[in-house]
C-alpha cells in the first residue's frame, strides 16, 4: 500500500471516530436510552468502516467488539461472549471441509467433466458455468468456489480466442452462479449461519438446514435461468464449440473418493439431521477429513480465512447490541411512521435496502446491519413474520451483481481481464432489480404456501 493510500485510510479512520464522537456528545432522543443511542452510533461507525475499508474488514469486526465496553454499552465479558456461537463453529468446519475438497483436487475433475458436457455450444456452456458455480456453492463458501474454478474456466475461455462476449459472459456467469448458489444452503456464505443464529437468538425459532434450503432453493431455481437469459441478451456469442481444458483423466484417486464421500455425506446428514445442530454435524464431517487422511492440521491452518470469522464477531455484537438496547425498536418505529404498517411494503423496502447495502459493503456486513432492523420491524408490525423478514434479508444480502466492491467474486473474476467494469454494471443493474422482485415474489407465494409468511 502506498504512503498516500495509508494517509487516506488513516483520515477515513479518524472520520469514523468522529462519527462516534458526534453520537457521544449529541443529546439522547426521547424514547431511546444512552446505550441505544451509542449502538446506533456504532452502527453508523461500522457502516462507514465497511464501506470505506479504512481498516481490513476482519479488524473492523473485532474493533466493533472492543468499543461497547469503552462506550459504556456493555462490559467486555458480555461482548466477547457473543463470539461463543454455533455459527462460528459451523463456519470453521465448513472451511475445513472445503480445504479437504480443494486438496484432493476433486474439484478439477468434477468441473472439467461438467463443463465438457456443456461445451457443445456457447449458450449451454454459460449455463454450465452458472450451474457448476451454484452447485459447488451449495457445499462451500461461494468465494472459495470462484477461486477454485477460475483456473479451469479461464483456460477454457482462453481457447475461444476472439469471442469477447463469450469471455465476458463466462466470467460474469461464474461470479453470478456462485452468488446465486451461495444462498441455497447454510454452507454457501457466512451470512447464512449468521442469519439462522440471529433468528434463533432473537425469536427462539430454529431454522434447520433443510428448512433454510426449502425456502432458499426456489429463489436459486428462478434466478439461475434469469441470469442465463440476461447473459445471452447482453453478451450474445458466436463461437461454435468451447474447448474445455484441464480435464482430469483416469480413475478417481483414493483421496478424491474420500474427500467427495465426506463432503456429500456431510451435506446429506445436514439435510436429514440438521435439527441436532448444523455445527455438530459439520464438525463430524471435518473430523472425518482428518481420520481418512485427506488433510492434516497444517492444511487447516492455511485454510481458514480469519477475516470472515472476525467480521462475524463484529456483526453479532452489532446485532445483539442493537436489539437488547432497544435501538432496533426505536429505528423500527421511525421506519413504520414513514413507510406505514403494510407488511408487504415493509418487506419489499427491506429487501431493496439490503441489496443496495450489499453492493457497497461485504455481504455479511450488510446482512448484519439489516437483520436487527428487520427483527425490530417485525416486533413493531405483528403481521410481519420475523423468520420471513430475516430470510429475505439474508438472501438479498447475497445479491450484489453490479459493483466490483459488492462481492469478492465479482472482483476476482474481473481481475482476469475478460470484462470491464461497465460490462458488469450494465447487466448487474438488471440482475439486482430482478433479484429483488424474485425474493419478494417467492416470499409472497412459496413461503406463504409453506406457512412461513
Amino acid at each position: 500500500m502506498s504512503i498516500k493510500d495509508m494517509k487516506i485510510k488513516r483520515e477515513l479512520f479518524l472520520i469514523s471516530l468522529l462519527i462516534l464522537l458526534i453520537f457521544y456528545i449529541s443529546p439522547t432522543p426521547a424514547g431511546l436510552s444512552y446505550q441505544g443511542k451509542m449502538m446506533i452510533g456504532l452502527m453508523f461507525f461500522a457502516v462507514f468502516l465497511f464501506v470505506t475499508e479504512a481498516l481490513p474488514i476482519g479488524m473492523s469486526g473485532i474493533l466493533i467488539m472492543a468499543l461497547p465496553p469503552i462506550l459504556g454499552i456493555y462490559d467486555s465479558r458480555r461482548v466477547f461472549g457473543f463470539f461463543g456461537n454455533e455459527a462460528i463453529f459451523l463456519l470453521i468446519s465448513a472451511f475445513i471441509l472445503a480445504a479437504g475438497f480443494q486438496k484432493s483436487g476433486l474439484h478439477m475433475r468434477v468441473a472439467g467433466r461438467f463443463l465438457k458436457r456443456f461445451g457443445k455450444s456457447p449458450k449451454i456452456f454459460i449455463l454450465g458455468i452458472l450451474l457448476l458455480g451454484s452447485s459447488f456453492s451449495f457445499m462451500m463458501s461461494e468465494h472459495a468456489v470462484v477461486a477454485l474454478l477460475i483456473p479451469i474456466i479461464a483456460v477454457s475461455l482462453a481457447g475461444v480466442s476472439n469471442d469477447r462476449n463469450l469471455k465476458k459472459a463466462g466470467m460474469i456467469a461464474l461470479a453470478y452462479g456462485c452468488s446465486i448458489g451461495s444462498i441455497g444452503t447454510l454452507l454457501g456464505g457466512a451470512r447464512n449461519p449468521y442469519a439462522v443464529s440471529f433468528i434463533n437468538e432473537s425469536t427462539g425459532t430454529t431454522v434447520t438446514f433443510l428448512q433454510w434450503s426449502m425456502m432458499a432453493i426456489p429463489v436459486v431455481a428462478i434466478m439461475l435461468p434469469i441470469a442465463w437469459v440476461l447473459m445471452m441478451l447482453f453478451f450474445p456469442t458466436k463461437t461454435e464449440k468451447i474447448p474445455v481444458e484441464k480435464v482430469k483423466k483416469g480413475p478417481m484417486s483414493p483421496m478424491e473418493i474420500k474427500a467427495g464421500s465426506v463432503l456429500i455425506g456431510t451435506v446429506i446428514l445436514l439435510f436429514i439431521f440438521g435439527n441436532i445442530g448444523t455445527a455438530v454435524i459439520a464438525i463430524l464431517g471435518a473430523t472425518a477429513m482428518f481420520i481418512l487422511g485427506v488433510i492434516d492440521w497444517k492444511d487447516v491452518e492455511k485454510a481458514i480465512p480469519w477475516g470472515v470469522l472476525l467480521l462475524y464477531g463484529g456483526a453479532i455484537t452489532l446485532g445483539k447490541g442493537m436489539l437488547s438496547t432497544g435501538a432496533t425498536g426505536w429505528i423500527a418505529e421511525g421506519i413504520v411512521e414513514y413507510v406505514g404498517r403494510n407488511p408487504e411494503m415493509i418487506l419489499f423496502v427491506l429487501i431493496f435496502i439490503t441489496v443496495l447495502l450489499t453492493e457497497v459493503m461485504s455481504n455479511t456486513a450488510a446482512v448484519a446491519l439489516m437483520l436487527p432492523i428487520g427483527i425490530g420491524l417485525s416486533a413493531a408490525v405483528p403481521s410481519l413474520n420475523p423468520v420471513a423478514v430475516s430470510m429475505a434479508i439474508a438472501l438479498a444480502g447475497g445479491f450484489a451483481f453490479t459493483l466490483l466492491i459488492g462481492n469478492p467474486g465479482n472482483m476476482i473474476t474481473y481481475s482476469t481481464g475478460y470484462y470491464r467494469q461497465r460490462d458488469l454494471m450494465k447487466i448487474g443493474i438488471f440482475a439486482d432489480i430482478i433479484g429483488i422482485f424474485v425474493i419478494y415474489g417467492v416470499a409472497m407465494t412459496v413461503w406463504k404456501f409453506m406457512g412461513v409468511w
Binding site: 475499508e53 480443494q102 468465494h143 467480521l311 469478492p408 474481473y414 481481475s415 481481464g417
Partner: protein, 224 residues
C-alpha cells in the same frame, strides 16, 4: 518496414483490461512499420482483488488466484498482440509508470491511443489519438518542437503518415513568420488560427484546453 522519406514508424500501443485502444490497434496496421503492444496488468487490480478477498479466502487461495489472474491476462495480451501483428510486452505495475519506462526504452515515433489522456500528453512523445474508422476525426499530437530541426522531423513524420493513409495534410500555423510559413507550405495546406505557437488542427474539431496546455504544436490529418 521503411516509409516515405526513410523514416521508420515505431508505434507503442499501451493496453490494459479497461483501456483497450482498439481503434489504435486497427490503425497501427496501416501506419506503423513496427507495432509494440504494451499490455499492463495494473497492480492496483491485483491489490484491489486481494483487499476485497483476503478476509474470505486463505493465503494459499490468494496466491493461486494471483497466478491464475496473471496467466489469464497474459493470454489475453498474447491474443491482442497476435491479432494486431505486434510485438508484445507484458508488465505488471502502474499503467503510467510502465508506459513511461517503455516510452524511454523503445523511443516510439508515436504512442497510439483511442482517447486523450492527460498523463500521456505530458510525455515527450508524439501522441496519436484514433477515433475509429473516420480518419478525419483522429488527432496526431506532436510533441513540443521548439527547434526548427525537431519541427521538420515531426512534419516529415506527419507527411509520411498522410501519404500512407492517402489523405492530405493540413497545417494550422498561428504565427506570422514568413520563413516558417514558407517551410510549412512544403508539407501541407496552411490554415489560419487564433493563438499559440503552432497548432495543426482540423476544422470542426477544436483542441481541448487539456491538449492545448500540453502540446505547443499538434497535427491533424485532414480527410480526403
Amino acid at each position: 518496414m521503411e516509409v516515405h522519406g526513410g523514416m521508420v514508424m515505431r508505434c507503442l500501443i499501451p493496453v490494459t483490461q479497461e483501456i483497450k485502444n482498439e481503434n489504435a490497434l486497427k490503425r497501427a496496421a496501416q501506419i506503423c512499420s513496427e507495432t509494440h503492444v504494451l499490455y499492463v496488468l495494473e497492480s492496483s487490480v491485483l491489490e484491489r482483488m486481494e483487499s476485497e478477498s483476503s478476509y474470505v479466502l486463505n493465503s494459499d487461495m490468494l496466491k493461486m488466484l494471483e497466478d491464475s489472474i496473471t496467466e489469464s491476462q497474459r493470454e489475453e495480451a498474447a491474443r491482442i498482440a497476435k491479432n494486431a501483428g505486434a510485438i508484445l510486452h507484458f508488465e505488471v505495475g502502474d499503467y503510467f509508470d510502465v508506459v513511461c519506462r517503455y516510452s524511454e526504452r523503445l523511443r516510439p515515433a508515436a504512442i497510439m491511443l483511442d482517447e486523450p489522456d492527460r498523463k500521456m500528453l505530458s510525455l515527450e512523445r508524439n501522441i496519436w489519438i484514433d477515433r475509429g474508422n473516420d480518419i478525419g476525426s483522429s488527432v496526431f499530437l506532436v510533441r513540443k518542437a521548439l527547434r526548427i530541426g525537431n519541427l521538420l522531423r515531426d512534419l516529415k513524420l506527419a507527411r509520411d503518415i498522410s501519404v500512407r493513409l492517402g489523405v492530405s495534410l493540413g497545417i494550422r500555423y498561428e504565427g506570422k513568420e514568413d520563413e516558417i510559413i514558407a517551410t510549412l507550405k512544403k508539407y501541407g495546406k496552411i490554415a489560419e488560427s487564433p493563438s499559440a505557437d503552432l497548432v495543426f488542427v482540423q476544422a470542426g474539431f477544436p483542441l481541448t484546453a487539456e491538449m492545448k496546455g500540453h502540446a505547443k504544436m499538434s497535427m491533424m490529418i485532414f480527410g480526403k
